[in-house]
């Protein structure tokens, strides 16, 4: 309403947009680093997060790079290109989580099976007999 749209070059970031993008990504990067420092986030899990933040900062500072990227993917405006890039990274992060989850599920399952087998073996070796429940505890204690 106040600013005529035609006069704005949509393929470069406005100063406000630039500031917001830089501040946000720096905050994210610092937060990730702080989480690593407090050992709440493992280093190998942090790479994609830090990568996202750093890439956002770079794209926000060097808008020419961003406009080039925007025209490359056919984005009408620079901010949407920025969103697109961020979204792509988030998707990668989510996928990484899924992969990790699958791996952990597999290991969890293996562990559960191993525990079951070992527990049975232990039962057998300690000779507690077929019943190890309710009232059978006082029988073999020396």
């Amino acid at each position: 309403m106040t600013v005529p749209t035609e006069s704005i070059d949509l393929l470069t970031l406005q100063p406000e947009q630039k500031t917001t993008a830089i501040v946000l990504s720096v905050v994210v990067a610092l937060f990730v680093l702080e989480l690593i420092r407090r050992r709440k986030l493992r280093e190998e899990q942090s790479t994609l997060w830090l990568g996202t933040a750093v890439l956002l900062v770079i794209l926000a500072i060097f808008d020419s790079l961003l406009s080039w990227f925007a025209s490359l993917i056919g984005a009408k405006t620079a901010p949407s290109a920025l969103f697109f890039g961020a979204l792509l990274f988030l998707m990668l992060v989510a996928l990484q989580f899924s992969i990790r989850l699958s791996k952990l599920t597999y290991r969890n399952r293996k562990l559960g099976q191993r525990v079951a087998l070992l527990e049975q073996r232990l039962d057998e070796l300690s000779g507690s007999g077929p019943v190890r429940g309710a009232g059978a505890t006082d029988s073999s204690d020396a």
Partner: protein, 273 residues
Amino acid sequence: MLRTSLAEPRTVVLIPACNEEERIGPVVRDVLRELPQAQVVVIDDGSGDRTGEVAKESGAAVLRHPFNLGYGVALQTGYHFAHRENADRVIQLDGDGQHVPASIPDLLAPLALSPTEEGADVVVGSRFLGTAPRTSRLRRLGSKAFAFLVTRWTGQRITDPTSGFQALNRRALDHLTLDHFPEDYPDADVLIHLSRSGLRLSEVPVVMRERLGGVSMHRGTRILFYAYKMALSLCLLRVRRASAFRSGRALARDRQSKLRSESTPNSQTNRRA
């Protein structure tokens, strides 16, 4: 009773069970009455009730999962146990009482105890060849579809590939304890896997009862997800075979040759001679 000559084959009976404290006792006792020499193993899949204790009191060994891992994983735990115990043959049946232990001799009859012997490596108890209890329309349709696929891919007529009532010999057990083997739901896809690995499948009619109560471990509301997973697994099988499966076969060969060298002085080889 069945094979009185030489040493009695080491038989392990696997019964996966989850929250079956009221039904597991009779099942274990019926099996022991049918096969007094067998080692009955109940895999307690993270039950919240006294399933494990009841099974133990009834005379079964108990493998207790620390949390629920699913029917297929429970079976796999049992396979590993049987493998460790050097079982010659394995029988698996559900812990809810729908499989009648009196049918066990029928399952064991066609089972070959050595690769040279005539017979099958895997015997599936089919409820469609025998007298069937009434099941829902959807389930019958699903079963039919899987039966069709399995029959097509194995070249063998299998009418009830989702049956949990099966008998396996040592050769099948070796394959099922391979690390990469699909452990999610060992039914139709596992049968196809086994058949493609050169194992002989067979099917015999068995009597199945309606469940005596309680909640079924793997059927019911989850049937749609199960169908999806099964279809996915069956489709991926052809692709996955190229990489994972070949190495699996190599692994199996390694293990079998290792086993053979280990068990030479053992009683196992007596039968083969």
